[in-house]
Amino acid sequence: MLRLLRDPLFLAWSLLVAVTLVSSRIGGPNPGIDVGSAAAVTTIVLSIAFAKVAVVIFTFMEVRGAPVVLRVLCSVWLFGVLGALLALYYGILP
């Protein structure tokens, strides 16, 4: 049991499951929610999703131990796509 708790893959999976349950709890259809709260929920939900994607890429796909070029490319994709999606949601991009 103690060995399992020290396993980085199991810890990553536990973290992913925990934040999935949290984001599922706060996101989704919520009638009567005001625009400001909806924007805040969306920002949190998308940020959590990309944090999860980062855990999958760097831990499960083992990019953490990959050459710096691959680590940088993955980080650029993560931050680039998250930034673009939030910009589109907030109407910053046309």
Partner: protein
């Protein structure tokens, strides 16, 4: 090579470079993965772009989706990724009885995902919802069917990996095949994570 004995090069598809860094799978695979991830990213951006024209219509259509089914599917893919990552580790340690079992567990999760998705499609069609009813459904069916195709391809790859790892792997190209299949499967997982957030959770 007996079970539990370390594979050559520490079981890495390509040996680590001078800095100890190692590219998971075939280096060329990453061109495919980035291509796929960028294609899906463009679809995600298009979804939010069109949502901006009709946020209330998108929110209304979103209510028809089962958030519970989406959540179960997310947990199934996360769990399958855990099994597959452990499977790769078992292959490196030449554990020929454990590795195929872990890949089979990954396949079981994948089949669970396909079953849940089929059930969700059935429920939507049963409620009389069609792809052309609203732009939201066009994106929903477009994204999820495309993703489901990747799940099926990934499941076939996991089956090949489960079959190939029943014997100890000797050549670096064999390790590369296993790592590449695992990376493809993890990509399927990460794409679903974003799809779940966009389609089911965005307010």
């Amino acid at each position: 090579m007996s079970e539990g004995e370390k594979a050559p090069s520490g079981g890495l598809a390509s040996g680590p470079d001078e800095s100890g860094a190692h590219v998971p799978g075939e280096p060329g695979l990453w061109i495919l993965l980035f291509g796929e991830m960028s294609f899906f990213a463009a679809l995600f951006a298009s979804f939010l772009y069109y949502r901006g024209f009709d946020p209330s219509g998108f929110a209304e259509a979103q209510k028809q989706l089962s958030q519970t089914v989406g959540l179960i599917n997310t947990l199934l893919l996360l769990t399958s990724s855990l099994f597959v990552a452990h499977g790769v580790r078992a292959v490196r340690a030449a554990q020929t009885s454990l590795a195929p079992r872990l890949f089979v567990l990954g396949i079981v999760c994948a089949i669970g995902f396909i079953a849940c998705k089929s059930f969700e499609y059935y429920e939507l069609f049963d409620h009389g919802i069609a792809i052309s009813d609203h732009t939201f459904y066009s994106f929903y069916f477009g994204l999820t069917v495309l993703h489901l195709g990747h799940v099926v391809i990934g499941t076939i790859l996991l089956s090949l990996m489960a079959s190939a790892t029943r014997r100890p792997l000797k050549k670096p190209t064999h390790f590369a095949m296993v790592e590449s299949g695992a990376c493809f499967w993890h990509m399927v997982d990460l794409l679903w994570i974003v799809i779940f957030a966009l389609l089911y959770l965005v307010e």
